[in-house]
Symmetry: D2
Subunit: 269 residues, 4 copies
């Protein structure tokens, strides 16, 4: 199966780049399935129902999120009727929404997508490693899923690499999101799980992680409150990873970065 | 000037890769100056005087460090007689060693190298932005230096990007170190400062940030103390950034990643 | 029932003060049950089997712990045969030991003691609020227990006060441990749960949280590694809270601090 | 000199308690000087010019603050014309306001009040220990000041005790603020500096650190955003420490807690 996973979509610039470019990317790479992290799609903060619909129309199959999932007040209200929108699985019980789902891909194939969140340098949550194990205790490659994709939304490279190795050989891909900067360590782990520490953002890289520079810089230097941050408005880079899986095993055959548009050097799989 | 900056050298594997490959890289890229971060060179923890000498012999001109600088007991003893070894400038006053220096490059050119450390998700230190300003108040491009290189040893992508923008147009390069994973955002900022959020490590990427996997994974999952971590021993990738500066302005003309050997895809400038 | 709960016993000084003074305190206050936090009993770091036995002989009924529970290598080996030694319940599944137990008190009464650990400014763990609820789903006041005592080992006053209110009216006492400084907010919450944000330490207060001052001070000022900290050796204050429960409801009738010996002003219930 | 230092005043309830009770306390204790931390005086968040005036009228001589100092937009505008309002000294250079001042007390005596902020588990700032030293390099006991009072606004008990010991024998008192819970470790350190790890809050203790309980509890349990917190409205306890200094040396003769009103047990020096 040919799969694309995109990093955090940030603001209008990131959204427009995805909406505009994804159809051509889908065609050029003959994609079967697309996942994108949408936690910053609404002006940098969360996601609305309207934006969710827009992303689905543009060819995204599943939208994952992270710590910003509830930034828009409406999200807790519509997430339960939006099965293609995930929030981290290891949120407290009774959290609206769900953390994983099994979705149809062409050729009657099934894709399990799970969204988990790290804890190092992040808010306190239940163990994401245990949550990943609990998902795989229910289903997995050859047990209801032809591909298994884990979006591990986390800050620390150590926790992300550890997460990759723990699930290596049991899922098709473990990709990190959240830092908004793509890493250059795209690889197949030894068990043939595709891995990249962070997918980076679909956003304007002439910024501070997608936000206009002035206020974030002030926060670091002056240590006084500022106005609310606003998303940078320059041209966005669409940033993610292409993974080709083996339909027999569900494991990865190949992984390669995709970066198109904006400030970053273009890279095609 | 043609400059190479290398990320954190981790353990024997990282060290041997640098020692073995750097001479050929120096020649192939016609390098004038090489900086490497050595804070993990001694088995993953700090640096010894012997290793320092080994790196200089291999063609490194200046070694920067970070939070691991004092992991080896001997380092505080020899750093003051080792002008090519830097520790973060924004450590407390009276800390042994120094945080920046001006070094000779071929053609009677001068290179200012400074080592600063971030604070977000890291131990408390004095303001690195102010420390960078204080250095540039004394010297800089056209004022004693033909190139100015800032190694910003920091965890958070936001602090690193902010740091880049603050010094953009005033230094030749701002490069991040510390996360041990290279980022794929090599670029010239708008003021022609070369920038990459993290250089990654010179180390074995089949690991958890350069360490053998078992114990770090256990720490995340079991939350019990483990034995001391040991550096991974597989083949290392030499990872860094090539920067070409304009000798008139000292600003960057070009920046491109270098990644050679080990698990990561090879990349030459 | 008349109950005493003691804060973290730190090092030899704290241990000796408890061993020496507890028998007389037990008698003077006509105590039915004594809980003490022993996570720092062994030189400031963890607890040994020998020290555990010593504390039981001195009249402690149950020893709770916290983040330092595994500081001594032997502890994971003996905890499973030591039912009166608890570790935080919200540690990962498969952690040695257990987080709560029901113990005999005079007059055929039962005391449930539970040990939970907070997350704010601490290492990542599963939700202690949910863990407390899970315990109370199995047993509780009038359902197998005549008194219920929660030792909430946590850093932040906000998390501790929130924890108290969540379990108010359902347990006899919620007491905080970990900061090594007693708080002066001993009170009955509105549902008649006894509460104190922190019990303080049984240790030498002429110190930095029980440790000899020089090295901790150096760590704050110099930001360089130091030798291992050692427990302060001056006379210790035995510090805790006295709680009298109503045998009909198991809720608290009265709560008052106990502080005896050492640098702090003496306080008897 | 007879001095009272009060902890963080939280919201209307805390403010009204101070305004109502301070005149009688001043008289009963024959106070010469009163310091109060006002960082939460305006509904729990910051301080306004009007509230500042109200506190001065009630008999507060100097108002210190902390991390919440800028919560009200107007504060940065009026602080420079309000010499009796301090913000932490170790904020970045160019921060509005100042971190210490020398004030008149009856009998032509001078009181140096300084406000410093800790770093452990708090936002990154420059070294408060160095900032304290820098103040004492300019002035101090017998060098322009008859009493020296340090309000160390910090989270961690370890950093606070270390701070006390570092300045022991050189200042009249080191008192902690910020956690909103008073500690029961009022003492004279060995050099006769009065010390208390935290003064607690002047606020309603039937709360989560002064805030109405429901939303803070939800934040810990549900991990979803809530409405803005509001200050608890029940009767407040006025909480602080009484320090009597020796006019010859400026050091402390006696220190004792003051707690009046509200939920906490009353305590008079
Ligand atoms: Fe994001
Ligand atoms: Fe995020
Ligand atoms: Fe490193
Ligand atoms: Fe580092
Ligand atoms: Fe402790
Ligand atoms: Fe602890
Ligand atoms: Fe406060
Ligand atoms: Fe505060």
């Amino acid at each position: 199966m040919k799969i694309l996973l995109l990093g955090d979509i940030v603001g209008r610039s990131g959204r427009e780049a995805v909406v505009e470019k994804l159809p051509a990317i889908r065609e050029r790479l003959a994609l079967d399935f697309v996942v994108a992290n949408g936690e910053n799609a609404a002006g940098g903060f969360g996601i609305t129902e309207k934006i969710m619909a827009e992303l689905l129309r543009a060819g995204v199959d599943v939208v994952t999120t992270g710590n910003h999932v509830w930034d828009q007040k409406e999200t807790a209200g519509f997430i339960d009727r939006t099965p293609r929108l995930l929030r981290p699985e290891n949120f407290p019980k009774d959290t609206p929404g769900k953390g994983f789902g099994i979705y149809e891909a062409p050729g009657n194939r099934k894709v399990l997508v799970a969204n988990l969140m790290g804890r190092l340098f992040m808010d306190a949550l239940d163990d994401p490693f245990a949550a990943g194990e609990a998902i795989l205790a229910q289903t997995g490659l050859g047990r209801g899923a032809d591909a298994v994709l884990f979006d591990f939304h986390a800050e620390a490279t150590s926790e992300k690499m550890a997460f990759g190795h723990v699930f290596d050989g049991r899922v098709s891909a473990v990709v990190g999101t959240h830092t908004h900067v793509p890493t250059a360590d795209t690889m197949l782990l030894s068990g043939r799980t595709a891995y990249q520490t962070d997918l980076g953002m679909c956003g304007d890289y002439d910024s501070v992680i997608g936000m206009q520079k002035t206020l974030p810089v002030q926060r670091f230097i002056r240590k006084m409150p500022t106005d609310r941050l606003t998303a940078a408005e320059g041209p966005a880079t669409v940033s993610g990873i292409f993974v080709e899986t083996d339909d027999d095993t569900g494991l990865a055959r190949r992984a390669a970065p995709l970066r198109v548009g904006g400030k970053l050097a273009e890279s095609w799989p």
